[in-house]
Amino acid sequence: MDASRYWHGFIGIQVREWRRFWQQRTRLASALVRPLLWLVVFAAGFRAVLGIAILPPYQTYITYETYIVPGLCGMIILFNSMQGALSMVYDRELGSMRVLLVSPLPRPFLLFTKLLAMAGVAVVQAGVFLALARLVGVQPPPAGYLAAVPALVLTSLMLGALGLLIATWIRQLENFAGVMNFVIFPMFFLSSALYPLWRMREASPWLYWACQLNPFTHAVEAIRFSLYLEWNPLAWGITGTVTLLLAALASTGFRPQRTRILSGRR
């Protein structure tokens, strides 16, 4: 099969994702309301309670708002990926997933392209959020926005692959409420998104290690460091490795012998 077929397939999947995004513009609004509430209301309430010491990548004392912005970018991506991945397998998209799977193009290619398309949409949402955050005084260096893009894409690929795995393997989590309780909330709260981990360590070493083992923590740190133009090889290394691992697992989940597309609802 020649390369142009792959190219047309790649573009087709990207275009479809953007068309759907454009048709569901209200989704953008609701995707932004959640982190903005955290940023404007929650952070304002908590800024007095939580003093933040100087910690890398920041070079001065920072406001609590500044601290949680990278974590809230992670939150946008987390919701976006889980919603996207679940709807890919269940929902009305059940049909369009079949259309995808009967394509003559190889399935790992199709899935990766689909995850990348979802990542593109998520990055734009995070970008809009970062622009709004600038209005309330969270102002990373301008070049940081550009530097954060690869970290946002990687985070989205990682969480998208995780979402696919969850959706194909665990049927009980079919509804979104289940995923909220058992995936999104634990991942978000057991991470460095809302509080620096040294504070967690003071509270409980167990929780500290749970946070350290959570790949979402490292994804958030990769975003945080990139946004302030600092390099964090550990965060990137862990996020990258976990992404590869999850993507490999997710694509085996879509080999024909594992496909539950047909039998999943029995």
Binding site: R5, I11, R16, R20, R92, L94, G95, V102, P106, L262
Partner: protein, 240 residues
Amino acid sequence: MTVDIRNLGFRYGNTPVLRAISFRLDPGRFHALLGPNGAGKSTLFGLLTRLLALQQGEIRIAGTSLARHPAAVMGQIGVVFQHSALDPDLTVRQNLAYHAALQGLSRREARRRGDRELARFGLLERANERVRQLNGGHRRRLEIARALLHRPSLLLLDEATVGLDPASRAALNSHVRDLCRERALTVLWATHLIEEIRPEDRVLILHRGRLRADGTGQALCRALGGRDLADTFRTLTGGD
């Protein structure tokens, strides 16, 4: 294009759904796959479209093994699923474009072929409407148009008339027969409705995972002594 199915078996866990089925589809002919609900029709379609993996037996399409050369074979197959596989929020044309891209067609080529198919199916004036606005009959026609976009030589339809009123059902059925004739398409039309089958059709009767009969409707009636196909079908499936 010839389709060869040999000794095909499939089980979900310990439940056998297809048991050692063998048959052959002749090129350019309309074949009806008749069976009550739960006979194994959808499983057979799942295997033919690679949504399910082969557990036992072999599928060859135009002499090429589906398991060994999936890309080459999948490009030859057009599928209409039992449940709608359209994106209701996108327009008719956008749905076609998506499918065409997945088949590796360029956007220009996709548009050209898409418009030609839509014109042939009487849907061109609806090209920019969202699928949500179409009625059931139009949606099924669109799905057939989509399945033909990459010019397959085998068209698989899994209970394509489900949810349609009798008039639309008959129209869709005769439309597919026209396509079969005009384009020398090999068609496999799965149904549980006997009125969709004509006496001269090749009929494959599937019941509880076994192929109970294979021949033209007339020949089956003669051989099994039924008054008509419905009677023969009742005899074969034991009325249960």
